[in-house]
């Protein structure tokens, strides 16, 4: 009987140990999970999970096209990200990367990943009202480019 009690106690401890982080993340506030502010429009240029994982590769891909080929489609440009995801400060103006409220910074500070985009690029939109047209569904050309990008990244990941 005593042995069965001990087993039960052990199992209960393991159960608590496994569920504790989930509980803490849900409501206790012990883990400071970033909550980046929502951007303008209905949706981003790709779904959230994809953007979280691949946004940096999309930016690098677009930068090559923009600088060397002159292809400046607003869909995947950094200016588009900055414009749609502008966060207003207390003065009603979009905040710069110097502010902790900045969309990019809200996650990058948490992940301790330093980015140097904004050493050169503007971190605030010039005209807040003129947002990139991300609310419109991607056109055929954009869908094709995204599909090509996905194929390329899948190939890259499958390589050892």
């Amino acid at each position: 009987m005593q042995r069965a009690w001990k087993n039960f106690l052990g199992e209960a401890l393991i159960l608590v140990a496994l569920t504790a982080p989930c509980l803490a993340e849900d409501g206790a506030g012990r883990v400071p999970v970033p909550h980046p502010p929502k951007g303008q429009g209905d949706h981003c240029v790709a779904d959230t999970a994809f953007m979280r994982r691949y946004h940096m590769m999309m930016l690098v891909d677009h930068r090559k096209d923009a600088v060397h080929q002159g292809v400046r489609t607003p869909q995947y440009s950094l200016a588009g990200c900055v414009s749609c995801h502008a966060v207003k400060g207390e003065d009603g103006q979009p905040v710069s990367f110097a502010s902790e409220k900045h969309f990019c910074r809200s996650c990058h500070s948490y992940a301790a990943v330093k980015i140097d985009c904004f050493e050169c690029h503007a971190s605030r939109p010039e005209t807040p009202a003129k947002a990139a047209d991300s609310s419109a569904p991607p056109g055929d050309a954009d869908a094709e480019r995204l599909a090509a990008f996905l194929r390329e990244t899948n190939l890259r990941e499958s390589k050892p």
Binding site: Q69, G70, V71, S96, F118, C120, R145
Partner: protein
């Protein structure tokens, strides 16, 4: 690989409008048999055409400037002001380190006392020395002839500044946090006139040309490869000079009435 056979053939004589329009409508397709089994195909007749948003730049176009110094008074600084405004170039309080993408240079002939004032910027050479010396490939010439810096891969070594005979490049010495969206610039990289490449990609003219049009109208911007463009017509009307023509760099910026 592209072939410019058709383009070269048309050089030196006035194109026949009827033939040109036929070529345009037919898509100007040419094929050359070099050897058995090796064929070169060329599309397009070398004319400037509006680029679709997703279309890459083409070597059929070569952007250039013609500056008529008779219409450029020594006191006018409109192009410089417009460039600084467009690209967010502000003084740091130390003029010796401020970036200059375009400057007014005053020339005086000591024998005749004739004074000329010329705006000098990156001359967008066909054979740019800055590209030759760049160790990382950051300094490059775009297919449409614009010479610019890819600041993502610029390491700030400043070889290009040494190589440029026009002193057209500047180094960014200090950090900035108020850049313009269309003109990213940051400490530790080299920069220079890029003919307002973001405006060109949007189908607009460089800021200096727009500003000049409101003043003397000395600058004409356009496609040097298109014989029907305004700049090509103007270049055929009067002789022009290139700065340091002895270096044979074939700059895209040409000056009328320099002497």
């Amino acid at each position: 690989m592209s072939c410019h056979c058709g383009q070269e053939k048309n050089q030196g004589k006035e194109p026949d409008p009827a033939r040109r329009s036929f070529l345009r409508s037919a898509g100007a397709f040419a094929a050359t048999l070099l050897a058995p089994g090796v064929t070169l195909y060329a599309f397009g007749g070398g004319e400037a055409q509006a680029r679709a948003p997703g279309e890459p730049v083409s070597a059929n176009v070569r952007w250039g400037l013609m500056i008529d110094l008779n219409k450029c008074p020594p006191g006018c600084n409109a192009c410089v002001t417009a460039c600084n405004e467009e690209n967010g170039l502000k003084t740091s309080g130390r003029p010796e380190i401020d970036a200059q993408w375009i400057r007014k240079v005053t020339l005086k002939d000591p024998r005749t006392d004739i004074v000329r004032s010329a705006p000098v910027m990156c001359q967008h050479c066909e054979k740019p020395p800055c590209v030759d010396v760049c160790p990382t490939g950051a300094s490059f010439k775009r297919a449409d002839g614009i010479v610019l810096v890819d600041k993502h891969i610029c390491i700030g070594c400043r070889y290009c500044m040494m190589a440029c005979p026009y002193k057209a490049r500047s180094f960014v010495h200090e950090t900035h946090d108020d850049q313009k969206t269309g003109a990213p610039r940051g400490k530790g990289t080299v920069e220079g006139c890029n003919l307002c490449v973001d405006r060109i990609d949007a189908g607009r003219q460089p800021a200096c040309v727009d500003a000049c049009a409101k003043e003397g109208g000395a600058m004409i911007f356009g496609d040097l490869n298109d014989p029907a463009s305004e700049i090509s017509k103007a270049l055929r009307k009067q002789p022009t000079a290139r700065l340091r023509a002895d270096l044979a760099l074939n700059p895209a910026v040409q000056y009328a009435n320099l002497k």
